[in-house]
């Protein structure tokens, strides 16, 4: 009987990962399943809950394991932000993640579009060459990048932090896959209307692959927001640190003040969590899309 239950619960016509309307659990097995999953979920967010809770506690209270602070305070936040460095690091991360995301979206979609929609000799070679870079781990490139940055004077500059991330082969692949779904007739019609190729790409093809662009944007932004090893290597000036690098050095300095470290961690995590809670649906769809296409 449990077998029949399981199948009924799964609607056949449901689209990928759509939530469906809430239905109460229907038998005892389902209730246990739901409860265990819910408790597991709570366990998953415990570290985040503790991080936020501790960032709102006075230092004398951090040894208390209660999640709700006795006397909540934002003193840690004002202290950390008044220091000024976190403002700086936050701003650096924001600029770098935004600019690399814009650049990646433009170039990856342009290359993906050209490789998908233009017929010319050598395009397969270009595609394979770009894809082959996926096999090269970043760690292998950081030493040459460092040497390059050093000789060109890019150490401790925004450009130095950003340049390796201006395009990604994964994005080219993803966009190429999605441009396959754009009918050639649309492009041909635009050509007859007298649009040039740049206009066709931007105003005809791009709007048709918005979901893919959104998915790629999320991945690239998140990737650059949390990037650690390259910014750590290329910056020595604390004013140019990104949030992860800043937090890493900050944690070392104030090794005893855990409530301050948790505040710093919260500052670097909360923006992405808020964005996730707002755009949950799109982000999960984007992950599925990127995961399955990748």
């Amino acid at each position: 009987m449990a077998v029949a239950e399981d199948i009924q619960v799964k609607p056949s016509s449901e689209t990928l990962l759509r939530t469906g309307q809430p239905k109460p659990p229907r038998d005892f097995g389902q209730i246990i399943r739901w409860t265990l999953l819910f408790l597991g979920g709570l366990l998953m967010v415990m570290p985040l809950a503790y991080m936020i809770s501790t960032s709102l506690k006075y230092s004398f209270e951090i040894y208390d394991l209660n999640l709700i602070p006795q006397e909540p305070t934002i003193e840690n936040y004002t202290y950390v932000l008044e220091d000024g460095r976190f403002y700086n690091w936050f701003f650096n991360s924001l600029i770098i993640a935004t600019l690399t995301t814009i650049s990646t979206l433009i170039f990856d979609s342009l290359v993906g579009y050209v490789l998908c929609k233009f017929k010319f000799r050598g395009r397969y070679l270009v595609f394979i060459a770009i894809l082959s870079t996926l096999m090269i781990p970043t760690e292998m490139l950081v030493i040459p990048w460092y040497l390059m940055s050093q000789s060109l004077g890019w150490l401790d500059t925004y450009w130095g932090i950003m340049f390796p991330g201006l395009m990604t082969a994964f994005g080219v692949f993803l966009m190429k896959q999605f441009f396959e779904t754009v009918p050639d007739d649309f492009l041909e019609a635009a050509r007859i209307d007298g649009l040039n190729e740049l206009q066709i790409w931007w105003s005809v093809a791009m709007p048709l692959v918005k979901p893919a662009l959104a998915a790629l944007a999320i991945f690239v932004f998140l990737g650059n927001w949390t990037a650690f090893i390259w910014p750590l290597i290329v910056t020595t000036d604390t004013a140019l640190y990104t949030l992860p690098v800043g937090l890493s050095s900050f944690g070392d300095e104030v090794d005893v003040a855990w409530e301050l470290i948790m505040t710093g961690a919260a500052i670097s995590t909360l923006p992405t969590l808020v964005v996730f809670l707002i755009f949950q649906r799109f982000i999960i769809r984007g992950v599925v899309m990127a995961g399955l296409k990748g």
């Binding site: 199948i7 170039f107 233009f118 060459a129 781990p137 490139l141 340049f163 919260a266």
Partner: protein, 315 residues
């Protein structure tokens, strides 16, 4: 075709470029557009991907500390690495991360995805709870977990243990426990992604298969082994390769959980990427030796993914 494109005769006042452009056929114009669009990306991939790759290989056969001259040393960097006992500890650690991390994270995420797929009530909320850690930065979370692992009275875990009367565990100081303790947050952070991908894979299995099996009176367990898992193979292959590469490249968590003694205690948590970082940027600037280590990492990643693809595809 040729006549058509030439019918538009170029007046003499037009520039040379414009004149040439108007003489091209539509097909030829497209080729010009294509290469114009590709120009910047091609320069980027050559300068920022291909040249550095070649450079890493070349550098691995040289000795250089950034200040003096580069000298060719042949295979000496590789031989030194082979004879370095620390390298073998690091090598073992790197595989330990892979061998513990990948199966554990895949089994847990599959179990959760399998059951979550069948739950409708508050489905979105529960899914969000599991997915949230994936949105965090490894550095921030490394610090949170590091705090959890502190001794009494600071650390959460040891406080909990103390309350039920279990002696303290020196999570990050013990050579036996430190590696799993560092690995745990990495597994935790990646679960959400794997669950989502597994659920997408589960949704892609046509329900008619299950309906047919149910008519035949097949048990739940048999359906899992005979229908679900075989049909999930592409998803499993993707996740195994993807997460193995992740665990082989572990760095952020280890570096930040042990900053006072990176990779410690006694190198018991040091992965290959941390060794590369220290060799190149840890003060002595042994660029050639570090480059050789990156080549080793590259080869390991390549072999592990090829072997996994081979094994999983054949089955």
């Amino acid at each position: 075709m040729a006549d058509l494109s030439r019918s538009d005769d170029t007046p003499p006042e037009r520039g040379w470029f414009s004149a040439r452009w108007h003489r091209l056929s539509i097909r030829q114009k497209q080729v010009v557009w294509a290469w114009a669009f590709l120009a910047i990306p091609i320069v980027f991939y050559v300068v920022v991907r291909f040249y550095p790759t070649a450079n890493a290989f070349v550098l691995s056969f040289q000795e250089w500390n950034l200040l003096g001259a580069r000298t060719w040393v042949g295979f000496e960097n590789y031989i030194d690495l082979w004879n370095d006992p620390v390298f073998w500890t690091v090598f073992a650690n790197t595989f330990e991360y892979l061998i513990i991390g990948t199966p554990i994270s895949l089994v847990i995420s599959f179990i959760i995805a399998y059951h979550l797929d069948k739950v409708r009530f508050m489905h979105g909320t529960i899914r969000a709870l599991y997915f949230l850690p994936f949105m965090t930065s490894a550095v921030a979370m490394a610090w949170v977990w590091r705090w959890f692992y502190q001794p009494v009275p600071i650390g959460v875990f040891n406080n909990m243990l103390a309350q039920i009367g279990i002696p303290q565990i020196a999570f990050l100081q013990s050579t036996a426990i430190a590696l799993p303790a560092v690995l745990a947050p990495a597994v935790w952070a990646g679960l959400g992604f794997q669950i989502i991908i597994f659920m997408a894979g589960l949704r892609a299995i046509p329900p008619t298969y299950y309906e047919a099996a149910r008519v035949d009176g097949v048990s739940n367990w048999t359906m899992l082994w005979e229908i679900t898992l075989p049909l999930l193979k592409p998803t499993i292959v993707f996740l195994v390769v993807f997460s193995s590469i992740g665990f082989l490249r572990i760095f952020d968590h280890v570096f930040n959980m042990t900053t006072n003694n990176p990779g410690g205690p006694l190198n018991s948590t040091k992965p290959l990427v941390l060794m590369i970082y220290e060799t190149a940027f840890g003060g002595r600037s042994q660029m050639g030796a570090a480059a050789a280590q990156t080549v080793v990492l590259f080869v390991i990643l390549l072999i592990v993914s090829l072997v996994q693809l081979r094994i999983l595809r054949d089955r």
